[in-house]
Symmetry: C2
Subunit: 198 residues, 2 copies
DNA sequence: CCAGAAACAGTCATCCTTGACTGTTAGCGG
DNA sequence: CCGCTAACAGTCAAGGATGACTGTTTCTGG
């Protein structure tokens, strides 16, 4: 019984394996957190041998850093579709709902998990700092699309960072709070922007 | 050479050792994070034997839960003195500076570290959820003292949760951002409250 | 003053993780 | 078609963490 596998170039095989490994890493980060994401766990989830894993990522640190880059790219693909689906762009309320999505994706959770680890890992911290700068630009651009009518409002630059920080904080606090509390937050943010951008 | 140690009751000895262990745990949480806070590390810092540590806290989990309670109590003692030192209570700016203190103490960092771990530890999560409720009451009471002149303002209830969430988010983002960014945040919050509570 | 319990001390087996190491296969350039 | 290299497979040693276990000291109630 000979293998009748589809012939693939080495580059294709390699890329596929690498992608599987990173996807497994992200899944593990979401489900088990940074501490639970051992190289063995990733290896199991990706169904690769130890040799394959170590070949692509010589150390656990390099694996996580690679995951950072991947997460950043994937995060971009989360909000875009939501924006396209939104009928009534320009509304404060719809904009906040969409923006909140980007803090709720599994990717955001994985990134958050890495932030925690970064406090004691200089290499990871640098990687995340660079990624954070890029991501902030993205978010700013996103907001400009969400609320084109308000970008020139004198309170626009004031409210945006506060709103984003608040979402960060609320997303984090969700671990120990109820869903109802989160819903209240959403309402409060909408009310706040309505007042500030009146 | 007989020991000439001061005679202490068992309860005193026990309490002292227990306190040393918890203090060491908090220190380790701040310096090394949750993952780095092993029972061995705590044992070394507290200069106690393994038997002593395991006697007071049979498992690592119980140690961390005990640290939660201790942290909560200690957190209370951070802001109080700052409030007393403040000359000009009632001012928005001073109030924000003081409130921000409570997010900068080592204790806040340790608590944050435990929040990260709580996502994968039900026992810890429950302990933190209870503590979070208490702490939120405390913060509300603190704000009432900081801004007695605004508690009846129609926007008071609206602004407070947003401000606190934003501080949470900013405190967390500090890991990957500059101090200058933090200073900007402080200014923005002040400006925001000035507008909302005009 | 003494029996017993609480508070500590020190050691150990077990488990887990990590990355190094050796062996094998599949594709690519010449 | 052939030698080489990248891609993968599987095993292993070293280190560290955890909690169980046994032994010793210190206090307290009767």
């Amino acid at each position: 019984m000979t293998t009748v596998a589809v012939r693939r170039t080495q580059a294709e095989r390699s890329a596929a394996t690498r992608a599987r490994i990173i996807a497994a890493t992200v899944d593990s980060l979401v489900e088990l957190g940074h501490a639970g994401t051992t190289t063995l766990e990733v290896q199991r989830r990706a169904a690769v041998s130890r040799g394959a894993l170590l070949h692509h990522f010589p150390s656990r640190a390099e694996l996580l850093v690679a995951a950072v880059a991947e997460l950043f790219q994937a995060q971009r693909d989360v909000v875009g579709p939501a924006m396209l689906r939104a009928q009534e762009l320009g509304s404060i309320d719809v904009g906040i709902d969409i923006l909140w999505l980007s803090f709720n994706s599994p990717l955001a959770i994985a990134i958050d998990e890495l932030w925690s680890a970064a406090r004691n890992d200089a290499e990871l911290r640098d990687a995340l700092a660079r990624q954070d700068r890029d991501q902030r630009s993205d978010v700013r651009a996103l907001c400009a699309v969400l609320w084109p009518g308000y970008v020139d409002h004198p309170n626009y630059e004031l409210a945006l960072p506060v709103l984003i920080d608040a979402m960060h904080g609320a997303a984090r606090a969700r671990v120990v709070r109820s869903d109802r509390a989160t819903a209240k937050r959403l309402a409060a943010w909408k009310e706040l922007l309505h007042q500030l951008w009146a």
